[in-house]
């Protein structure tokens, strides 16, 4: 993503950075999605689809366990371009332009080779940081499901590990069990971070 943006002229780049970054800093303005995906026939998506004749009765987007998880993923994607993304954008701007010229002389013929052999190795530290931040955020998704689908979500369709933790920790007050979940979550985060770091180390070789 950040790489694509960096290919553009400077003004447009700054503008697009704002567009993509804005959702993640906006607090819980994501609640607007409850209006878009409202199950009511007056909800935006339903009304539009009914009008176009694609569906003939309103879809219960946020109550039907078939759709909930997809919607939650969609919303968290919308919010996912956070600190890591900014770090990528900044990292890309520091790369020495002469390296690309040198690369062209040495026989790099297209964009993809340029990305793999010059751009990515140059921004490894930022990649590392961005990866860590986004993994951490992704595994910590919990508020979004509660806000969109309620708690617990119908049929536990969008029950994330964080929801599970809150359920046991703060509703059933079984702190021991909740701590056990937290330890597993912690291990999962560390392991996935290590795996990604291993992968990033091999980039460009």
């Amino acid at each position: 993503m950040a790489w694509l943006i960096n290919e553009l002229p400077r003004r447009i780049r700054a503008f697009l950075t704002i567009i993509f970054y804005a959702p993640s800093i906006s607090g819980n303005a994501y609640l607007i999605f409850t209006l878009i995906f409202s199950s009511d026939p007056y909800g935006y998506l339903n009304a539009k689809l009914l009008d176009l004749g694609i569906i003939d009765s309103p879809v219960l987007w946020l109550q039907d366990s078939k759709y909930i998880l997809t919607i939650v993923i969609l919303v968290s994607l919308w919010m996912s371009l956070g600190v890591g993304f900014l770090s990528f954008v900044a990292g890309l701007q520091t790369i020495d332009k002469t390296q690309y010229e040198a690369g062209a002389i040495d026989g790099i013929s297209n964009r993809w080779q340029e990305l793999w052999y010059i751009t990515l190795p140059n921004m490894k530290p930022q990649l590392m940081f961005g990866a860590v931040m986004s993994i951490t955020n992704a595994l910590g998704v919990g508020d979004i499901t509660v806000a969109l689908a309620g708690f617990p979500s119908p049929n536990y369709a969008a029950h994330t590990i964080v929801n599970h933790l809150n359920d046991y920790g703060f509703i059933r007050m079984e702190m021991g069990y909740a701590s056990a979940i937290a330890v597993i979550l912690f291990a999962a985060m560390l392991i996935s971070n290590r795996l990604v770091q291993k992968f990033i180390k091999r980039v460009g070789t």
Partner: protein, 313 residues
């Protein structure tokens, strides 16, 4: 000096005679026709189409929110719905005030709570992060490396992991149902500390030595020499902490209705569903706009800090 002064004026006259206007090529046309690099023009066009599509996808909820906030009732419930507003009104904002004037807690109280939490939390975070980052970045002492590694480790798990011990500590301290339950944990933000430390490492050590020779103690060095130099870092920290504090609902810590922040009020309004969609859009717009405007104003500082955010193995 004297000789150069003699020749100075004549040279200047010549210069003004030969003023050449150079036309700058339009960056957009240059972007599409640039054939020096090894990027194909077809690829460029594809890229623009793809990014436009993505940007629209990201913008759609924002546009929707913006327009719904100004729509009168009959346009909100129109079938088929329009994205864009025809006759913009401020009715939804008045309704918002109306709605809260009849409720137990007025809207202004929620706003006050949020601002109080955000301001104290952010200030505290900046002060603590900079005081912790300064020795870690600039001094060599035993355990420095270990602490730095610990900070990087702590970036790797989210707050959810520590939710249980956090809750227990706060309840043992008797801070449940106070502002401090949200403010105090935010003081120890490791992300802020990490960014601050990386940025401070760029400051030349000679500057700090010079300050100590001139008789400054550690605190004056930090506040008068180092802090002005790391301005982009603490502005970034300000934005990041503002953003997290702004979104805090205080879920498990605050039960007193009078102490809850604005984002909690938003989720309450939103739970009313389609019947109050105009009001929901209005309050969403408020919560959305403030952090975004702050970010736009301080953008370049953030990017500058982020260049130093890289992680070494």
């Amino acid at each position: 000096m004297a000789t150069t002064n003699l020749y100075g004026p004549t040279v200047q006259i010549q210069k003004s005679n030969f003023k050449v206007k150079r036309k700058k090529p339009n960056p957009i046309t240059r972007f599409f026709t640039d054939n020096r690099s090894n990027r194909s023009v077809g690829g460029n066009i594809l890229l623009v189409i793809f990014l436009t599509f993505l940007a629209l996808l990201f913008l759609f909820p924002v546009i929707f929110m913006f327009n719904s906030a100004f729509k009168p009732l009959h346009e909100l419930l129109k079938i088929p719905p329009d994205i864009f507003v025809r006759n913009p009104t401020l009715d939804n904002f008045y309704d918002l005030r109306e709605l809260f004037s009849s409720s137990l807690v007025p809207l202004s109280r929620y706003i006050f709570n949020t601002f109080l939490i955000v301001i104290i939390g952010t200030l505290g975070q900046i002060i603590f992060a900079s005081m912790a980052a300064y020795p870690l970045a600039k001094y060599d002492f035993r355990g420095n490396e270990f602490i730095s590694k610990l900070i990087v480790m702590s970036l790797m798990f989210s707050t959810a992991v520590t939710a249980v011990p956090n809750y227990m500590i706060i309840s043992k301290l008797g801070l449940i149902d106070t502002y401090w339950a949200i403010i105090l944990p935010s003081f120890s933000s490791t992300l802020g500390l990490y960014l601050m430390k990386n940025f401070m490492e760029q400051i030349p050590s000679s500057l700090i030595e010079a300050a100590s020779i001139d008789g400054a103690n550690e605190f004056t060095t930090l506040w008068l020499v180092v802090m002005p130099l790391v301005k982009p870092a603490w502005i970034t920290l300000f934005i990041l902490s503002f953003q997290t504090m702004w979104g805090a609902t205080g879920g498990t810590y605050i039960y007193d209705e009078k102490l809850k922040p604005l984002s909690y009020a938003l989720s309450q309004v939103a739970s009313a569903g389609i019947a109050r969609q105009g009001v929901t859009a209005a309050i969403s717009l408020i919560t959305f706009l403030i952090p975004v405007i702050i970010y736009i104003l301080m953008q370049s500082n953030v990017i500058e800090t982020m260049t130093t955010s890289g992680m070494k193995e």
